[in-house]
């Protein structure tokens, strides 16, 4: 005899430790099965886009740090590229190499956080998260050497970076890259062959590439469904056209595939950094103040630049009316757009998979709400 159950509506969040920030979901369950999900966000809204309208172009760099706070360097990079396009600034080579190194390190850090927390959500309490965080700590130490801050870097300036890397940075980077590879090997040995991880992640929250493309989802989520789309390869910005790297694809498009793609991308990022270190040459790190003054007045117009962020296409759209502050700034936040398919991924799944799926999407509420 079937047990008659009644659907129950449960509020998850906003203050829930597994929601990676202040995110709320209204979930309807029928027994263990998810019938409906309604994501509700906006709890972390700080009005960054509006605040940008009354700050000068250099000051806005500090706002972009706080959007996706686990990948500040990538936000900096996307914003600075938009400013450079808007104002027609020619970046200096060493500055570009340095910011590529910094942003690839940040991608590694962000993917490590995503992987660590995904495994934490799976129930591997502590251990893998600590391994991932230990490596991230090294990267943050390197950021401290570069720019004096660990999370809110504000390292980039229009045309380059504000200061050259100190001498002790290069040996630390070399050691750090080896450590990252070692940790990734360990994580893979620890988890990629683990039956418990397999049974929890394989075949859950499967989504087709067509759905992903229709929802304009990008980044590791799209690559986990077998679509070869990486802006570093498709529309190279900075000096990515002088770098060779592989795009790692998986075709399963389930939670495991998303985890796998992130882990492989960390390896590719390490390769990219090594190539950058080989090609970097001495020189100034930012244009002189005669070329790029502190107070930039771009001509009236607009510019949109997108980069491959850690979570997908991260774009900045700037409109200038010729003044010292942008008339309008809009951010194409990859987390927000990746969130849109959460409902389709979850419906029909089990309650236990809810947070695993949520973790594998890798959301950052700071970026969703801005």
């Amino acid at each position: 005899m079937a047990i008659r159950t009644q659907p129950v509506t449960v509020n998850l969040g906003p203050q829930h430790p597994s929601t990676h920030g202040v995110f709320r979901m209204r979930v309807m369950f029928d027994g263990e099965e998810i019938v409906d999900v309604e994501p509700i966000f906006g709890y972390l809204h700080r009005g960054s886009e509006k605040l940008a309208e009354e700050r000068t172009y250099t000051q806005i760099v500090t706002l972009t740090d706080r959007m996706d706070y686990v990948s500040s360097m990538l936000n900096n990079q996307a914003y600075i590229l938009a400013v450079e396009k808007l104002a027609g600034i020619e970046p200096v080579p060493r500055g570009v190499w340095l910011r590529m190194i910094a942003s690839e390190l940040q991608r590694v850090a962000s993917h490590l956080v995503a992987t660590g927390f995904l495994l934490q959500d799976l129930g591997a309490l502590g251990t893998p998260l600590i391994y991932a965080m230990r490596e991230r700590e090294n990267i943050l130490d390197m950021f401290e050497m570069l720019c004096g801050a660990r999370i809110t870097n504000s390292y980039l300036r229009p045309g380059g970076v504000f200061m050259d890397a100190p001498d002790e940075f290069w040996p630390a980077l070399d050691r750090g890259l080896d450590d990252i590879i070692q940790t990734i090997d360990e994580l893979e040995e620890y988890l990629s062959g683990n039956e418990l991880v397999f049974s929890r992640t394989k075949g859950t929250a499967v989504i087709t590439p067509e759905q992903l493309i229709n929802a304009s989802i990008t980044g590791p989520m799209l690559r986990a469904s077998g679509v070869d789309w990486d802006l570093r390869h498709r529309a190279p910005y900075d000096y990515y056209d002088r770098i060779t790297f592989e795009r790692k694809l998986h075709t399963a498009s389930d939670n495991y595939a998303r985890y796998w793609v992130r882990v492989q991308e960390v390896r590719e990022s390490v390769k990219i950094i090594r190539q950058c270190v080989e090609q970097i040459e001495p020189g100034p790190v930012r244009p002189s103040f005669d070329d790029v003054p502190r107070l930039i007045r771009p001509p009236a117009g607009d510019a949109y630049v997108a980069i491959e962020g850690s979570k997908g296409e991260l774009g900045f759209y700037l409109v200038s009316d010729g003044g010292i502050a942008p008339y309008r700034m809009h951010v194409r936040a990859s987390s927000l757009i990746n969130l849109t398919l959460l409902r389709d991924m979850l419906i029909g799944g089990q309650f236990g998979d809810l947070f695993v799926t949520f973790g594998s999407v890798d959301l950052n509420m700071g970026e969703v709400d801005r």
Binding site: R55, T58, Q59, T62, L63, T127, Y131, R134, E137, D141, E144, M145, L146, C147, G148, A149, T152, S154, F162, M163, D164, P166, E186, E189, Y190, L191, G193, N194, E195, L196, V197, F198, R294
Partner: protein
């Protein structure tokens, strides 16, 4: 192979279990007898004889010693370092701050001003309760008068106490961070060990010679 994943995973955990710990204790670290004696500057036997109470505590594992956190010399900390003698009250820092939290009041130039007294700084307040330590003010300072500090322990119960004034800045030990100040890195200045007492040492440039000034302002125009 199915069934081998788990033991392999536990092997990794075991390997990590043997590795030295990476956790850093803050603000104090528990030490045994030897550590406590070293902190007091004695050898363990002297320590046992001279401070039996402390030794007992150390043996019981209750003794703690303060920990110096590993920081980069570029660390953007609070407690800005400020050299009033270098400051011209140009207020670039205040204009460049994204939050507008630097307050500068200067006595304007008088008609019969004597040399060196035309602009005098009267108020220089930084509300570091709202500061985000972005360093843009330091980047803007053309005379290297304002530097980031290197400390980070400044919790207070009242927000008002977080406004640091000119007097407080002047009285604080001068441990500038080398953020945006390459001259400190060139001189291998270590803000965690030394201080800068003479304001001349904090500068980026030599004072330009009269010929240079003439070349720049007269000949090239």
């Amino acid at each position: 192979m199915i069934g081998l994943g788990l033991p392999r995973g536990f092997l990794v955990t075991l390997k990590n279990f043997m590795r030295p710990a990476v956790t850093e204790q803050y603000p104090d670290r528990h030490v045994g007898l030897i550590g406590a004696a070293r902190d007091a500057g004695m050898n363990p036997f002297q320590f046992l004889v001279k401070k039996p109470g402390d030794s007992l505590k150390a043996i019981a594992g209750l003794a703690t010693v303060p920990v110096a956190v590993k920081q980069s010399s570029r660390f953007r900390g609070n407690e800005f370092t400020f050299f009033e003698d270098r400051c011209t009250a140009c207020a670039s820092c205040a204009k460049y701050c994204p939050l507008g939290i630097i307050e500068i009041v200067s006595i304007p130039g008088k008609i019969d001003a004597q040399e060196g007294e035309s602009y005098k700084l009267e108020v220089f307040d930084i509300d570091i309760g709202r500061c985000m330590f972005c360093g843009l003010c330091v980047e803007a300072c053309p005379y290297d008068a304002l530097h980031m500090g290197t400390s980070f322990e400044r919790s207070k119960y009242v927000r008002d106490e977080l406004i640091i004034t000119k007097e407080e800045l002047n009285a604080a030990p001068k441990r500038p961070s080398s953020f945006y100040r390459p001259q400190f890195e060139e001189n291998a200045f270590d803000p965690f060990k030394e201080t800068i007492d003479d304001y001349h040492d904090a500068g980026r440039h030599e004072r330009p010679s009269d010929e240079d000034l003439k070349k720049k302002w007269v000949d090239e125009r």
